[in-house]
């Protein structure tokens, strides 16, 4: 289909000198330059990997070069599989296998973990894609692969860096429809300068990358988030719209509220990924100049509900009303709709839903029932149809918008010979939503050595977000009468300690 690139190409004709993208160093690339760079990159890629291979994984940091590669793969009808460049070697191998990746594009082949991959699939680095003097701007030649299943334009690993890989499949049309939804919800136009401070391997980063390019606006990249950097970027480039994750918004709220005059360009701000503290949320709805929205959704279904300024005045605790074309139900354990204000499981049917998980028919079937996506969240609808979030029914821990599965961490911990049992729960954190904390049953004399050894092992095997920030040791694990570990009870006990786990980090103002 290549619709996204065709849009870039269209704006290269209509507004050739307009800035399409600005990177974190302030480098600006116009639509004309972006289209040309993309054609050259497509030509290079077509000689190197296409059409022999079409499932291309990317382990790249956000940059103009990465954007050019993504758009080039769009021209070539390849399946784009963005991955977290910080995945550990064992995780990367597992993820690549789960999506049947054929090619891996990395920043640099000097990284030893990527060298290990060479035996398994074709690995190339950005340098190999840049060095092609033979290609001229106006004489690129393409060997486009047999049109891929258009249904596999992009595959996102839902957990980002954790859990059993759940690769969500998107068609290009899915992504186009999602952008269209954002255009309508937030009145996005070609005049918008849109800041993307989320990585491309997250669906939010994908949305914020494609959105400006589809409307002929300007994309501003901020790969490493820091409060001051965000503020400087918004002011310098007169950013008009962005969708921060709620943990970033918590940090930014103080500045946004104290100095609203500095952010006059910012006409629209949307909170996403996790629920936001009620007092922060109320204050943000009061921002002058800026239209604040809260959204609720998931990568599988995009935005399901949205709360705007007017609605927040009458429904301040709600997470919004279902978006156009989206049906939200709250059901009991027998899948019967609950009465208004009765808590149940949140199901969402949306025209924006993904077709499912790659190569996982059973998981897809369990997650999408009769066209409804089982969010794993608990909530209720009020009499006017506004949705309220209460809790999650799954054990999943959501750390700064990333799903972390306790079993992945517990599996590693339980391999330690001196650990009798372990449970990992999410401790409430004002800024990240939750942080993983481990409770370990062991002999009290062993706890120091266990913690030291576990920290080393966990660092090697798991991503940073998966590593417990604290360890609690006890002789026995608390079991409920039914013999199960009562995670909720443990979580409540830890929360009652009032630990402010991210305080020392917040002082660094470095929250990525």
């Amino acid at each position: 289909m290549s619709v996204i690139f065709e849009n870039v190409n269209k704006f290269a004709s209509l507004t050739p000198e307009k800035t399409a993208v600005i990177d974190s160093e302030g480098v600006k690339v116009s639509y004309k330059q972006l289209a040309n760079l993309t054609k050259i990159r497509a030509s290079r890629l077509s000689n190197l990997v296409i059409p022999n291979f079409s499932r291309i994984a990317l382990c790249l940091n956000e940059s103009i070069d990465t954007l050019v590669t993504i758009l080039a793969l769009n021209i070539l009808n390849a399946t784009i599989i963005p991955l977290n460049p910080k995945l550990k070697s064992n995780q990367l191998q597992r993820f690549l296998k789960s999506v049947d990746a054929e090619v891996l594009i990395v920043e640099s082949l000097t990284n030893s973990s990527f060298k290990d991959m060479i035996n398994q699939l074709k690995v190339i680095d950005l340098e190999m894609l840049q060095n092609d003097n033979k290609v001229q701007n106006d004489s690129y030649s393409l060997r486009i692969s047999n049109p891929q299943e258009y249904s596999q334009f992009l595959i996102t690993l839902s957990s980002g860096s954790t859990g059993d890989p759940k690769p969500i499949v998107f068609s290009e049309n899915d992504k186009l429809k999602r952008s269209k939804q954002s255009v309508e919800l937030y009145n996005v136009t070609h005049n918008d300068v849109i800041l993307c401070a989320s990585p491309f391997f997250h669906s939010l980063g994908q949305r914020l990358t494609f959105l400006p390019l589809l409307v002929g606006g300007t994309l501003v990249q901020l790969p490493v988030f820091g409060v001051q950097k965000w503020i400087d970027t918004v002011i310098k480039y007169q950013v008009t719209m962005t969708i921060p994750v709620s943990s970033h918004l918590h940090l930014l709220a103080g500045q946004l509220l104290k100095f609203p005059g500095k952010f006059k360009s910012l006409r629209c701000l949307v909170s996403s990924s996790a629920s936001i503290d009620q007092s922060v949320k109320s204050s943000l709805f009061e921002l002058p100049y800026c239209d604040f929205h809260e959204m609720y959704g998931a990568s599988e279904i995009a935005t399901a509900t949205s709360l705007n300024k007017d609605e927040a005045k009458i429904k301040p605790n709600s997470i919004g009303f279902p978006c156009y074309g989206v049906e939200v139900r709250v059901v009991d354990e027998n899948f019967i709709d609950c009465c208004p204000t009765t808590i149940g499981r949140i199901f969402v049917k949306s025209y924006l839903a993904s077709s499912g998980y790659y190569n996982l028919p059973n998981t897809t079937e369990k997650s999408f029932v009769n066209g409804y996506f089982l969010t794993g969240d608990l909530g209720y609808l009020d009499i006017d149809g506004f949705l309220y979030f209460v809790d999650r029914e799954k054990d999943v821990i959501i750390v700064g918008g990333v799903n972390i599965y306790p079993s992945d961490i517990e599996d590693v911990i339980s391999r330690h010979i001196m650990v009798k049992a372990s449970v990992v729960v999410g401790a409430h954190d004002l800024y990240f939503g939750e942080l993983p904390v481990a409770i370990i049953a062991c002999n009290p004399d062993d706890k120091v050595s266990i913690e030291n050894e576990l920290r080393v092992t966990l660092r090697k095997e798991l991503s940073s977000k998966q590593q417990p920030i604290m360890f609690f040791f006890q002789e026995k694990m608390p079991f409920s009468p039914s013999g199960k570990v009562d995670r909720k009870l443990i979580r409540d006990q830890i929360d009652s300690l009032g630990l402010d786990l991210s305080r020392r980090l917040r002082n660094t103002q470095h929250m990525t």
Binding site: K86, T110, V399, R455, S464, R504, T508, M511
Partner: protein, 84 residues
């Protein structure tokens, strides 16, 4: 005293190398602004703090992490050394 400093710097280099390889000589490494460079993400910083505390049996306070010293290797080495 110099050995203590180089031991701490060595520990930090190994730790940060595990996250992402650092191709810097010793002098440049000491000046390395690991926070501002984007070398480590926020969660890695939290774990770095906890691991330093465990390794050196010290406590890093919230005020410590506010300081500029905390943001580059030599400053961090000196901060740890003072607390030993």
């Amino acid at each position: 005293m110099k050995n203590v400093k180089s031991d701490i710097a060595g520990y930090l280099r190994n730790y940060l190398d595990e996250i992402n390889q650092i191709n810097l000589n010793d002098e440049d490494f000491l000046n390395f602004r690991y926070l501002d460079s984007g070398h480590i993400d926020s969660f890695e910083i939290m774990h770095l703090i906890v691991n330093i505390e465990q390794e050196f049996n010290i406590r890093i306070e919230a005020e410590d992490t506010e300081s500029d010293e905390f943001r580059y290797i030599e400053g961090l080495v000196e901060m740890i050394e003072k607390k030993l």
